[in-house]
Symmetry: C2
Subunit: 241 residues, 2 copies
């Protein structure tokens, strides 16, 4: 079925393609059987290759995991940047748009959903994945810093209560999203993730002094769909595969 079956030394683009095939297979098997229980043989088999190919492209299983994380994060950061560019208006709108954008990606982009499932439910955060873990925690820090800055802007603009702790708020918002995501991935049929994330963060924002009407007036209808379209476009661009 494949053009070349027992050949070697493909061109650079072909090699990159097989690398992506390995990543795709790893994403699938990791999601199905968990990171620890999957062998490199299964991954290679899933990609229609042998362990030799896997060991050529990656040092070991955890190097593969890091590569998977990177492949997932890059388009997500692009989607964030797109939202930044789109909603220059005010900070609170950007915050809402980003939350909804992330939820949209998790629900509608299989790759993002799979990766969230793998890192939240199918992988053990132990020393073996120290490299991945360092990257994950580092990227999380970056995201927290960014959101904290947004909260500071929102406070300065009088959109949230004056005495809000921006760093604490970033942590709380991050916790809300990941917690709901965790439960949704455990039982996806139980509730509508996008709906619940939006409602939960809106309620929380009201508790932080946000205008209760602002959500319905400016974000929920026009901006939400715009953000979703931006995210979808970014997803399509990233899914060139």
């Amino acid at each position: 079925m494949p053009a070349t079956h027992t050949m070697a030394r493909k061109t650079k683009t072909e090699a990159l393609e097989t690398r992506n095939q390995i990543l795709d297979a790893a994403e699938k098997v990791f999601g199905e059987r968990g990171v620890a229980r999957t062998s490199l043989h299964e991954i290679a088999e899933g990609a229609g290759l042998t362990r030799g190919a896997v060991y050529w492209h990656f040092a070991d299983k955890y190097d593969l995991l890091s590569a998977l994380w990177e492949r997932c994060l890059l388009p997500l950061e692009a989607a964030f940047a797109a939202i930044d560019a789109e909603h220059v208006e005010d900070a609170l709108t950007r915050i809402r748009a980003k939350v909804r954008g992330v939820a949209d990606r998790i629900v509608h982009d299989p790759r993002t959903r799979n990766m969230m499932g793998i890192f939240l439910l199918r992988c053990e955060m132990v020393d073996e994945i120290a490299a991945s873990r360092q990257r994950i925690v580092g990227d999380r820090d970056d995201c927290l810093q960014q959101m904290a800055a947004e909260f500071r802007s929102a406070v300065a603009a009088g959109q949230l209560r004056k005495d809000l702790d921006a760093d604490a708020a970033a942590i709380e918002l991050h916790g809300i999203i990941d917690g709901l995501c965790y439960h949704w991935l455990l039982e996806p049929s139980r509730f509508d993730f996008e709906q619940r994330v939006a409602a939960c963060t809106d309620a929380w924002l009201i508790g932080q002094g946000a205008d209760p009407l602002a959500g319905r007036r400016r974000v929920t209808r026009p901006t939400r769909s715009a953000a979703a379209q931006m995210a979808k476009k970014a997803a399509r661009r990233a899914s060139v595969r």
Copy 2:
């Protein structure tokens, strides 16, 4: 060092004690190295025994995991029941007290904290732990049902907005707690878990129509310490070991 070193056939109470030693060792090693990477040999070694003892008391590693879950859940349910008995007054106070009680246990009871760490960060939710997973999801459902009932009471008492979806609210609250717990366990030094959970849920409750002053008036000071004391008493009772 142990009284009996190469003996056999202990009395029933002695056998129960070794069973607990195995559970303690498993809790420790699971938390340090993750569930999948730990062998039954390491657990037995940690308990000063051999694999034979482990296989006598438990069918396999995942049966051990289920037993660990049970040992952790029972005192937690007891703490909940204690809060129910203590704060008969109104539903909203009970909700706040339960949230704070859980946070208190997670932070101050090592066993609860270890178990949260194992199940959130150190274990892969795959088919192999189907038995444990079924129990976990089932217990989670019970908890959600219970909290939804509390929310219905609070709505009926006019403490929250009339159009609140109690089931959705239970899911959101659960997500908030677990999400913050997840992040706190990843980097415990980053923020104060109890403080953040309390603040976050209070803000969220305000967004659901709760009286912003109610938290400061009735719960934060007197009830909070009472709930903590109840939880600590329950913890001590449960930690008979």
